[in-house]
Amino acid sequence: MLDRDAKKVLIGKRIAQELKDGDYVNLGIGLPVEVANHIPEGIRVFFQSENGILGAGPAPLPGQEDPDLINAGGGSITAIPGASYFDSFLSFSLIRGGHINMTVLGALQVDARGNIANWSIPGKLVPGIGGAMDLVVGAKQVVAAMEHTDKDGNPKILEACTLPLTGAGVVTLIVTDMAVIRVTPAGLRLCEVASWTTVDEVVAATGARLIIDGPVGTFA
């Protein structure tokens, strides 16, 4: 079993391998941010933040924070050469118009049909929608970045989400600390298993049927 930080790195690193040269990418708050730390050598990707930048750069050095440069989680960022600022209206037009190649989001639940729930646990915690509903509909690739199970070990990948949805039939790829799973019309296809675990353990920790129709790779 990995600790939280190791899980984060494992997930971020694996998702980063999905990126292609020139991609425009939107990373959700929390876990997805880790992806930016693992861009494969030789490719260049451009980060969009829905609050109004294309070409977001890494966090500034301490003391050099600019209050007018923040990511969607409120953290300080920088702007790379060739960045642009724009209003939220244009920002979401880029998103819904299909100009963002990939969005990576955290999830409370995902299911066999590519549904995702990440904005509300009714009666308990309702942080809200933010930009997630636009993102899952608009981005070409929607990657759910999540721990495979919840704190109590219950599966978060289900036959059908039980929480209010963020998007229906939108997730294309699920990357967890245990597995890489593609959403296909036939259901969830297990593609890779983390090197620290096994196919059987992944199947046991998953609340939906996993299609295994070829060799299952590993990632680390």
Partner: protein
């Protein structure tokens, strides 16, 4: 014609029980001074339209903490514990609007449209009760205009004709909210004479602005 007024005069333009729209994203680009003046004026029972309620002690959150808001249309409250508590207690009514669609709905009003067909939130609670359109196998839901009585926004600089420029990502919802109400009040760091802003750099033309307030004044 644009008038330059004080923060106190601006707050007096917000009637109790009215609908206000406030710009900013997690307090970045929010009109902090106007919010201070509004809290100080003690205006209550407001309906708030905003991207989020920011933080408990910063940005729009101060209105929530002051219990000035009775209902709102926002996309997110995750960074404000007071908002979450008031929502749970049913002190505060919330319609959650997807962030991009919030911008679209405000602009619908601003651009004189009757609504848009949106692909966002289909199959989620956002779609409940809304008319739909299906086209080439894709479903869209009808989203209606959102407007306020007064919009409170923030710019870096204005000229006396109301032309506005913003600062980096503090631009966010400001240009759209500038068209979200018949009265737009802009907090600015600096007011200059006409001609001192390059016409090419103006983001919000003066026709959308009614009042300017210098930050702190």
């Amino acid at each position: 014609m644009v008038k330059i007024i004080s923060g106190r005069e601006a707050a007096a333009l917000v009637a109790p029980g009215s609908r206000i729209m406030v710009s900013g994203f997690l307090a970045c680009g929010a009109p902090g001074w106007l919010l201070d003046c509004l809290v100080e004026a003690g205006v209550k029972d407001l309906h708030l339209i905003a991207i989020s309620t920011d933080y408990d002690d910063r940005g729009i959150g101060r209105l929530i903490t002051a219990r000035a808001v009775k209902s709102c249309q926002v996309s997110h409250i995750g960074t404000n514990k007071t908002t979450q508590a008031q929502y749970k207690n049913k002190e505060l009514e919330i319609e959650f609007v997807p962030q991009g669609i919030l911008m679209e709905r405000i602009r619908c009003f601003g651009a004189g449209l009757g609504g848009i067909f949106s692909p966002v939130g289909v199959g989620t609670p956002v779609a409940e009760g809304k008319e739909t359109l299906t086209e080439n196998g894709r479903t869209y839901i009808l989203e209606r205009p959102i407007c306020a009585d007064v919009a409170l926004i923030k710019a870096r600089k204005a000229d006396t004709l109301g032309n506005l420029v913003y600062s980096k990502m503090a631009r966010n919802s400001n240009p759209i909210m500038a068209m979200g109400a018949p009265i737009t009040i802009v907090e600015v760091d600096e007011i200059v004479e006409p001609g001192q802003i390059d016409p090419e750099e103006v983001v919000t033309p003066g026709a959308l602005v009614q009042y300017l307030v210098r930050k702190g004044a």
